[in-house]
């Protein structure tokens, strides 16, 4: 750095840019896979999401979300499942008006009572609705803190009534705001799910399952396949049969994108794509960094000759160059990591399907040990790729030629 500050800074900035890009990708992946409240058990969650039914005789082909009844048939009472919640797939935007008389748009999530057990909501005040209230279709609501403030101003919200798309609801509980990044638990207003459906098979219900600790997901999938077979025998009377698409899905599959109700998600391809992205993001700057290191070393040929003359071994030359390069890489990596975190805080919408998130990813969500570990690993790989060849070449320099180099 002292002798070649321009090349040194270009190297640091190049590394920072590379790590920044990798970290953006890693963090996007992390917030979609790693557990955070209220989705604190993502590693144990499975989601039964869609149903695809065909009628081979007349070419009929329908696929959509499930009705409550279909979801129960396929997923209720599976061995190895600790708890299961039937809730709507995603949120529905609705108009809400409280005592402030201001109409606001809220994201509505309809759930059963088990929803509150499988997710880890921060109940600030009041209570959650129970099974009886869900069964009765009670007009009760649990709402988020910021929504409560918007609907009722400074008034005490629990016990208050508000209009939700022209229906009157009573607030029974207040929970902390939920990030849209928790895509399966997200909502601003939660109400009991309707157990009725417009169709016996189709609807908008998903089965969110919390699997017991240590239970293999394959064990659950086998049971679900058997349930599909049973369901097929029911449907056979109408000339229908199901098409199985690998449901239920784990968090990684969900994060990779379940493209539709009539396709089979392929988490492997997502993994492959991520690996390709990481490799490109590492290789391209590594080539640049390597050539810059080459350039730096060309100016240090004399110095290497002197070091060799005074007893420096080839191995020491290699380790010194890689260590020096590592310092530069780590410095660049730290800058890149900080830049990625700042970027994530400023542009949280990029991390979510919901556009600009009402609740940005928190520092605790982004600053995980894994993030640092990934950054460190990326730095090491970048360093080894970029420094190994120049260091090896430098170690092979003939000391006499190195000393005589101009």
């Amino acid at each position: 750095m002292r002798t070649q500050p321009v090349i040194g800074w270009v190297t640091i900035i190049g590394t920072a840019l590379s790590i920044f890009l990798i970290m953006v990708v890693v963090m996007m992946q992390q917030v979609s896979i790693l557990s955070f409240a209220p989705e604190t058990h993502r590693d144990r969650m499975l989601y039964g999401m869609f149903i695809h039914i065909v009628q081979p005789e007349n070419g009929g082909d329908s696929s959509s979300g499930m009705s409550y009844q279909t979801a129960k048939k396929l997923y209720d009472g599976l061995d190895g499942v600790e708890d299961i919640s039937y809730n709507n797939n995603g949120v529905i935007p609705c108009d809400a008006r409280g005592t402030t008389d201001r109409v606001i748009s809220v994201d509505l999530h309809s759930t059963d009572e088990a929803f509150w057990r499988i997710y880890d909501f921060d109940l600030i005040e009041g209570r959650f609705y129970d099974a009886a209230e869900v069964g009765a279709g009670s007009n009760l609501a649990v709402i988020c803190e910021s929504t409560a403030a918007a609907l009722f101003g400074g008034e005490h919200p629990v016990g208050q009534h508000f209009m939700l798309d022209h229906n009157d609801f009573e607030v029974i509980g207040i929970v902390g705001d939920v990030s849209p990044l928790a895509s399966k638990a997200y909502g601003q207003v939660f109400i009991p799910i309707s157990l009725e459906s417009w169709d016996p098979e189709f609807g908008n219900v998903i089965a969110s399952m919390l699997v017991k600790d240590g239970v293999d997901f394959g064990h659950i999938s086998e049971q679900v396949r058997a349930r599909y077979a049973e369901f097929d025998s029911e449907l056979a009377a109408d000339g229908k049969e199901t098409v199985y698409h690998g449901s239920p899905y784990d968090q990684e599959t969900i994060a990779g994108g379940v493209d539709g109700s009539n396709t089979t998600p392929d988490p492997e391809s997502g993994r492959r794509m991520r690996m390709i992205i990481y490799i490109i993001l590492l290789i391209v700057p590594a080539i640049n960094l390597s050539s810059m290191l080459h350039s730096r070393l060309r100016h240090r040929v004399n110095e290497i000759g002197v070091e060799r003359a005074f007893g420096c071994t080839r191995r020491r030359i290699i380790s010194d160059i890689i260590s020096e390069s590592l310092i530069v890489t780590v410095a660049g990596g730290l800058i890149g990591l900080v830049a990625a975190i700042v970027f994530a805080m400023c542009y949280s919408g990029l991390y979510s399907d919901f556009g600009d998130a009402a609740v940005s990813p928190s520092l605790s969500m982004l600053l995980r040990p894994q993030t640092f570990a990934y950054a460190l690993v990326a730095c090491f790989i970048l360093n080894i790729i970029s420094a190994a060849v120049p260091a090896w070449q430098a170690s092979r320099l003939n000391p006499v030629e190195a000393l005589n180099a101009r």
Partner: protein, 224 residues
């Protein structure tokens, strides 16, 4: 037994088109504590010989024995360790590392030696800098020193590891006469007071005459 013993040394540089013989059947013995000058016209092989003695280059033929060790059989790592422990170099163009200050330049050989802690290294550096009158410049960079001061630092670096042999390749070649005399005086002091064996390549007849023996070279051969 001679401290430095070269037997039947040949050095041939080969390219696709041409073969150049730099050294031809060179036999040389230097006793412990001797101060030997090597003289000859440019391109006659003096520096090549010095590089072979210093284990920086390998002869095409012949054996190099230093301090009773047949160095022809040493591998690269062993050769590096041997250089570090036994040989100090003084170059015409000093070859100080520009990004390191005087103390760090002098310390360099010790950093490649195992078993010497930081405190011991600092002590040895202080000792040689004081001996060479460079203590007040220990924090300076080479670019802030005069040519004579640079060569003093280079000599300090050469002796800080307490080598038996110092190889000096035209150590006064880049200095004016008074600075050259100062450097020669330092080398003589090292030779006489510390018993260091010195082999010096020089073009300066007067300086060569001050040494114990002159070895004259011509076209890769010792002529006297």
């Amino acid at each position: 037994m001679a401290l430095i013993e070269l037997n039947g040394i040949e050095k041939v540089y080969r390219t696709k088109e041409i073969e150049t013989t730099a050294l031809e059947n060179v036999n040389l013995k230097v006793e412990k504590g001797e101060f030997v000058s090597i003289m000859g016209p440019s391109g006659c092989g003096k520096s090549t010989l010095l590089n072979i003695i210093g284990l920086l280059d390998k002869p095409t033929l012949g054996t190099v024995s230093l301090i009773g060790t047949d160095c022809s059989k040493l591998g690269d790592t062993a050769m590096s360790h041997f250089r570090n422990a036994n040989i100090g170099f003084v170059f015409q163009s000093f070859h100080l590392i520009p990004s390191l200050n005087v103390a760090a330049n002098v310390e360099l050989p010790l950093t490649y030696r195992s078993g010497i802690g930081a405190a011991e290294r600092r002590k040895r550096v202080d000792e040689v800098l004081e001996r060479l009158g460079m203590t007040h410049r220990r924090r300076h960079l080479p670019s802030q020193l005069s040519g004579g001061q640079c060569q003093r630092v280079a000599i300090a670096r050469a002796i800080v590891g307490r080598p038996s042999i110092v190889l000096a390749d035209e150590p006064t070649g880049n200095l004016d006469s008074s600075m050259g005399d100062e450097v020669m005086q330092l080398l003589h002091d090292l030779n006489r007071q510390d018993g260091i064996t010195i082999v010096m390549v020089t073009h300066n007849e007067a300086q060569a005459r001050q040494t114990d023996r002159i070895v004259r070279f011509f076209d890769g051969r010792i002529i006297s």
